[in-house]
Symmetry: C2
Subunit: 624 residues, 2 copies
């Protein structure tokens, strides 16, 4: 079996090699477009005004055009009367006749019955006249080469008589999805089918960056087929992206094909995710082999392809700003790679806090949930908790600043409240993270969240939540708000093939657990202890998931026989359910946050009929 | 003659009235689109995953799928051999068979000739396997209502089996240009024709904000015609913008028509520019009467129509960030209005400085030249020089930070250098302002510009520039760099109808002057003095312009008989030219700026053949 190793070239060096290769014999393509439709395009040459604007002396207001010297001497005390041949009535924009040089405002005139005009003050020459060229003079450069045309510039060009503009042609980026298992989007894939969604992500990014994308049909993992597709795309596009097959495995042909038809300058970059990328050129077309994992490929798109597009567009594509934030959780990183860590951001008080998200290269939702990206430099072992870091924003600073931060135990109720909030038109957003009930207690204690969702069983009293609040907030600082009752139980495969009736029966089964610190885990551990069961005998005890639906999905998928979770998750996955307890799912609120507008709205929605209805549809909730 | 007065309602109140009127019976329009093309759209409802992603247990790498328990005990010292029926070769993304639960990386295997695999370490269950739902679990909310769909979200939807999305319909904004003198874009308008460019500005803005625009034909100032056009547009659009005719003059019908067909809630807003705006509604269509002056209308678009579009789009359209800057020049403002002042921004050292631009409502280039907008509150008399102000950015902060600031005397040479700079691909930009040669001296002295362009005649010695530098920078701090020789003279109308031969002849003519502090003005005043002429006898001495082309344009337009300026301007406007002097147009550079990369490039281009060629084409320049 073939296996080659990749290079590990630092990103900056890789870009330097790639861009110097691409710049050889590089020529910008241009076209001429109608000025009226030119906004957003990039000028290929400087634009000079062809005419003045205004191109004649125009009245700046409604009034009468006069000769200034005819008005000299007029005052409140000694008004002057202008004869009918001494003035011409003009509206804004009208020509000021050659023998006139100023305009008196209509509001400043008293009309006599004779048709003559009485005026109460003098005007000086050119007063209230927009003289020729006031805005634009013929011959003036209105904009330099490679300027991005704004709406106002579009207007200025037309005002200057420039009815067409030579602009840089839109960059055409070809996207070739590859892979034997890849299928077009569907809601009913066969086992082993991989839904092709990368091309949609990348073509949307290209569009966002001002380019045009051309998505080709999926190509199977046959070298000749892929080669044909690449050569066709090369002829039709400025840049070609080949999706997947960029590594060095047995079906990875990208690198070989580019080598055979052109030149490869980089194969393997010292970044994570994103390492297995290929950078090269075939004739005058830049070719990039993107990794198959979406997050890896997004990183290559953002760090390399965006700048490539800037080069081809003649204009720097704007990059996102950064903010300073305090890292909430240590990030461990390899010395070998520059790492791109997706983080959520929140603003509590005056500081931004950053929490790292799932780092899997295949987890595209780590990107959709992310508010920003933290870069850990190469040759660094990581960044410790509490460090102030610089984070590149993926959302607007305003949106992040206005977000209500809810953390703790996972329940779909939080998503539903977020949705209702949005539907009611509130400007603030809701940002949630799943760190378990104990994580919520810590977050509220440290002031890192507005609200914490908890369902913590006190093994001694059999009560929920209250004793924890008393213990961890003995000197106050937090308030517990009633949430909902939630039915917890054991989820088992449809038909209950293992015949599980109670917690005691799971010893002979495979189990999927929740993460340490989650309320469900606290409950499970409590039940094990109560029943004198040994956790080391539970197969899968260390297989931890972060949400109820993740547990349900694994049971439904056959990875485990059972797991604990809420009724609604079992129902959604059509699993059988053995009820164990009705727990209290409440909200812990930092005292200082009680006056926060978004927090008030959250509690309002929590008690609303609308939410109740939604939860009743899902089942397993109670409201007393 | 009819004349009504407008209201003067504070902006916030006007918006409140307008938005509460619009919100009555307001319903968002929705449509279903293919997810692959949904990026940039706004979700009309929450999106829940229909399937898990991955939807089967998938290998996370190239390797062999095994049962973890078969690997237990393997180590470097005591490798294990897996029989052929104990593993299955898998590539990344392949199904992990039901009877296997983990994957060993291809790199960690030694193949035996028998086809068996030697392994050197154990794996735990589910290691290197992307379990069902690792990324997305069926039933999970992927995005809430009214979320703007990002490229990554587009991918997440498809990964979750969501192939179409219900989104908010693109907002359709109708734009009706009006006016008897208004003509479609042309480079050859007749006298009195006003080129219709506002609709291009506004439709581009609408597009930038995610809406769709529909520009109607120009409507003459006939009430019934306009009424018909408005009713047609109302039926076809969500929002209708009527351009011009929004005031209370004799041909201003906007307000009356909206009143007759629907309701007007505001006519006249306490802002400047932008006062004569009409806000109303006809049936369920919001109707805005925009002022005819482009800058006034742009302000209404930015301050009102953008938020209106946000409402109709279900999603806040992002607004520009602000920066703190030190105001370089006092801004006087009326107590009656909230004022929007266009400013240029520059960063010198660590501080941003803001310089107010021309405040004419008709000067669209004040918007194209502006880097930001400064708001002077209502009830304020203005803001004094040196105050720290908050400026809304119209360009990216990065672009402003990287701009080379050149101030002082006006010459097209600066624009040409800017263009060459851009064409050579430098990332920094050039920002120039025309404050005259003396303004340049002050700016360099105060550290408010990198370079100052000067041509200052010393009346005593007849020499240029040097004595000024010696006087104003007696203790150093600035360096004078040689620029070009420039032919100054008297520009007169073609054929020289007034028979002007020298400065002495201008006493019987109308003159157009340059502003105080400009080098050309210094020269003119010097010549007057030398010839014992009285400036009070020069007709038009107080008619001041800021550029050579502006002076030339007024002479060509017949507003004046003559004026001083450079040969290239006379040539461009086909004027006759009486040569007076060849002056030295040099550059004053702040000592600290000499090491600035952009300054170095500027001087490099200043001495380049490319610039020389461009200037020779224009004429009147010399390079010794």
């Amino acid at each position: 079996m073939k296996h080659n190793y990749l290079d590990n070239i630092p990103l900056e060096e890789a870009k330097e090699r790639f861009f110097s290769l691409v710049k050889k014999d590089f020529l910008l393509k241009t076209e001429t477009v109608n000025t009226q439709a030119s906004a957003g395009r990039v000028l290929a040459e400087a634009v000079y005004a062809k005419i003045c604007s205004p191109h004649y002396n125009a009245s700046a207001m409604d009034g009468i055009a006069v000769r200034a010297k005819d008005t000299y001497g007029a005052s409140e005390k000694e008004p002057l009367i202008l004869k009918k041949d001494q003035f011409v009535v003009v509206d804004t924009g009208d020509i000021v006749p050659k023998d006139k040089d100023s305009v008196i405002m209509i509001e400043d005139i008293t009309w006599l019955e004779s048709g003559e005009a009485k005026i109460f003050s003098a005007v000086h020459p050119w007063q209230n006249v927009r003289q020729v060229g006031e805005d634009i003079c013929m011959g003036d450069m209105i904009a330099a080469s490679y300027t991005k045309i704004t709406p106002a510039l579009c207007g200025a060009f037309l005002a200057g008589g420039v009815t067409s503009a030579k602009v840089v042609k839109k960059v055409v980026v070809g996207i070739i999805p590859t892979g034997d298992e890849i299928v077009p989007p569907t809601d009913n894939p066969k086992e082993g089918d991989i839904i092709e969604f990368n091309s949609s992500i990348f073509s949307s990014m290209i569009k966002e960056w001002g380019g045009e994308s051309k998505v080709y049909s999926i190509v199977k993992d046959k070298k000749q087929l892929l080669k044909n597709a690449v050569l066709k795309a090369k002829a039709e596009c400025d840049i070609v992206l080949i999706l997947a097959g960029s590594s060095a495995g047995r079906d990875d042909y990208t690198c070989d094909i580019i080598k055979e038809c052109g030149e490869v300058c980089v194969h393997g970059i010292a970044i994570k995710p994103g390492k297995p990328a290929v950078l090269g050129k075939i004739e005058n077309t830049a070719v990039v082999g993107l990794p198959g994992y979406p997050v890896s490929a997004i990183v290559i798109m953002r760090e390399i392809v965006r700048d490539l597009l800037s080069l081809y567009s003649g204009c720097q594509i704007e990059k996102e700003p950064t903010v300073k934030a305090v890292l909430q959780k240590r990030v461990v990183s390899s010395l070998k790679y520059k790492e791109y860590v997706r983080v959520t951001l929140g603003k509590i008080g005056k500081k931004f806090v950053a929490v790292p998200l799932n780092r899997g290269a295949g987890v595209v939702t780590s990107f959709t949930k992310a508010d920003g990206i933290l870069v850990v430099p190469q040759n660094s072992e990581g960044i410790s908790e509490g460090t102030e870091v610089s984070v590149t924003l993926l959302k607007s600073k305003e949106e992040i600043e206005n977000a209500l931060i809810v953390t703790g135990s996972h329940d779909v109720l939080i998503d539903e409240i977020k949705d209702i909030m949005k539907r009611r038109g509130y400007s603030f957003s809701l940002s949630s993270s799943h760190v378990g009930s104990m994580g919520a207690v810590t977050a509220i204690k440290n002031g890192n969240a507005h609200l914490g969702a908890i369902h913590l069983l006190d093994g001694e009293s059999g009560e929920y939540n209250l004793s924890y609040v008393q213990k961890y907030f003995s000197s106050g600082g937090a308030v517990l708000k009633k949430g909902v009752g939630r039915t917890q139980g054991i989820m088992v495969q449809k038909g209950n093939p293992k015949g599980i009736k109670s917690i005691k029966d799971i010893e002979n089964c495979t189990y999927v657990n929740r993460q340490l610190g989650s309320g469900t885990r606290v409950l499970f551990d409590y039940l094990l202890k109560k029943n004198n069961m040994d956790k080391n005998k539970i197969q899968g005890y260390r297989n931890e998931e972060f949400t109820h639906t993740a547990v349900a999905a694994l049971i439904a998928g056959g990875n485990a026989d059972c797991g604990m979770g809420v009724y609604s998750a079992a129902k959604m996955y059509d699993l059988d359910f053995i009820e164990i307890a009705t727990e209290k799912y409440d909200f812990l609120c930092h005292e200082e946050s009680l006056e926060n507008e978004a927090v008030k709205v959250f509690f309002e929605i929590l008690e609303s009929e609308e939410l109740k209805k939604r939860l009743e549809m899902m089942g397993g909730y109670s409201f007393e």
